[in-house]
């Protein structure tokens, strides 16, 4: 089976609708969670969910388009981080392929792996486009690290990693809980869930 055919088989109408709903979930969940005043955004929960349910490619597309659409509707800065969101979806899909969303503790591990890859892509963007500063609370950490005498690159790496690790682990664990709680009728739709 060629790559194109495999792609077509993975992407039936159901998958496309799933991706489009996940994009909206990413944006809507952020609004809900802000109520709790926790240092997490969960703005990639839909992306991770698609990665687990429909595979790495679908997850990558969901992440990429979330940030591009975000750019069109409210903040052009989000579009600059679209590659980061894409990597989150792809890595989540690959983790699910290796059965990392079966238990809560492997889900935590998956969250950590996602954070690592997330940082690898986010650091150059943050460093070269924004000089390490994005105007959020994480900038205080950045200032503190620079004051300690770390170089710019090191400070950005540490800041990005710490700002994301809690968020991505919480996202992964929530996704694990959600796919456990999916009604039979919905989960039967996803052959990948047997492995995940």
């Amino acid at each position: 089976m060629g790559v194109t055919e495999k792609f077509k088989k993975d992407f039936n109408t159901f998958t496309w609708v799933l991706i489009s709903v996940a994009i909206v979930l990413n944006i809507a969940v952020g609004q809900l969670v802000s109520l709790l005043k926790l240092p997490i955004f969960l703005d990639s929960i839909g992306t991770v969910l698609v990665g687990v349910l429909a595979g790495p490619w679908a997850g990558g597309i969901a992440g990429l388009l979330t940030n591009l659409i975000w750019g069109v509707i409210s903040s052009p800065v989000a579009a600059a981080f679209a590659p980061v969101a894409m990597v989150i979806g792809i890595v989540a899909g690959l983790c699910a392929k290796f059965g990392m969303f079966k238990n809560w503790w492997t889900a935590i591990l998956a969250g950590l792996i996602i954070t690592v890859f997330n940082s690898v892509v986010a650091v150059p963007i943050r460093l070269y486009m924004f000089g390490g500063i994005t105007g959020s609370g994480a900038d205080f950490a950045m200032a503190y690290l620079l004051a300690l005498g770390k170089d710019l690159f090191g400070s950005v790496v540490v800041t990005v990693f710490t700002a994301n690790v809690i968020d991505k682990v919480a996202t992964a664990v929530l996704v694990w809980a959600i796919i456990k709680g999916l009604p039979e009728k919905a989960s039967a739709r996803f052959p990948r869930l047997v492995r995940a």
Partner: protein, 265 residues
């Protein structure tokens, strides 16, 4: 009415409104590549910022662009200037100092350049978003050969979002009425995460199947080319200009990544 509020598009009759969306998009790309890859330090960014502001003025959206950039760039500048001014590792030239805390030239120059680059890119992105109707963008992408499925996932979130936001608000109110605390200890707040999020996601899942069936009934999977009500005008000149801009992008990119010492002489 809700749909009009959702995207940043501003109705207008200017020349930029009638330019093909892909031409504008290519120009956004060109601005980004030039600002970060072209030689000459801050100069290309400054020139492009000027040109882009002029474009905004011509299309009559200068005020909106100004307001929006201000909101985005001010918090960045507030962090950027002091952090780099005081703490940038490359700092050598002391400008002024107060009780042992010094403000340095290199950090300020660095912060200024980053802000200038961002301003140039942000300005043109805003012009693009303000003058391009999302539906026109999607139509032009489909006409350029993008599959209908892609056009669907680009377009449908814009239509779904108001309903989903409404539902998020309902869930929030309902859980509050049942005593869900949004204050209290951290543990308590973490615990209230699940009852807020899971109804939203499970509810959305229940709808996916219906939507998929509805789409298939309307020939979503049909391989035949779909016709569109919208017509996005394009011209041969614009197509040529787009190709030229892409070529310049490519050249600038190559210039940036190839180390000079192997190229010259």
């Amino acid at each position: 009415m809700q749909r009009a509020d959702l995207s940043l598009f501003i109705k207008g009759e200017s020349c930029l409104h009638s330019v093909h969306p892909l031409s504008k998009l290519t120009y956004v790309l060109l601005t980004g590549v030039t600002v970060y890859c072209a030689p000459g330090g801050y100069l290309p960014a400054a020139i492009l910022l000027g040109v882009n502001l002029l474009l905004a003025a011509i299309s009559g959206i200068l005020l909106q662009v100004w307001k929006f950039s201000w909101r985005t760039l001010l918090p960045l500048a507030l962090f950027m200037i002091p952090i780099h001014g005081f703490l940038n590792p490359d700092n050598h030239t002391l400008l002024t100092s107060y009780h042992g805390v010094g403000l340095y030239l290199e950090g300020l120059v660095f912060a200024g350049r980053v802000l200038l680059q961002l301003a140039a890119v942000l300005c043109i992105s805003l012009i693009f978003v303000f003058t391009t109707h999302p539906a026109d963008l999607i139509t032009s992408l489909t006409q350029a050969g993008l599959s209908a499925s892609f056009a669907y996932i680009l377009g449908s979130p814009l239509l779904l979002l108001p309903a989903m936001r409404e539902r998020a608000k309902t869930i929030q109110d309902a859980q509050r009425a049942r005593g869900l605390g949004s204050d209290g200890g951290v543990i308590k707040r973490i615990r209230s995460m699940a009852p807020l999020i899971s109804p939203l996601i499970l509810g959305a899942f229940a709808e996916i199947e219906q939507r998929a069936i509805a789409l298939e009934l309307r020939g979503f999977n049909s391989a035949r080319t779909k016709t569109s009500l919208r017509v996005v005008p394009d011209s041969a000149t614009q197509r040529a200009v787009r190709k030229l801009m892409l070529l310049v992008c490519l050249l600038l990119f190559i210039y940036k990544i190839v180390p000079y010492q192997y190229v010259s002489y």
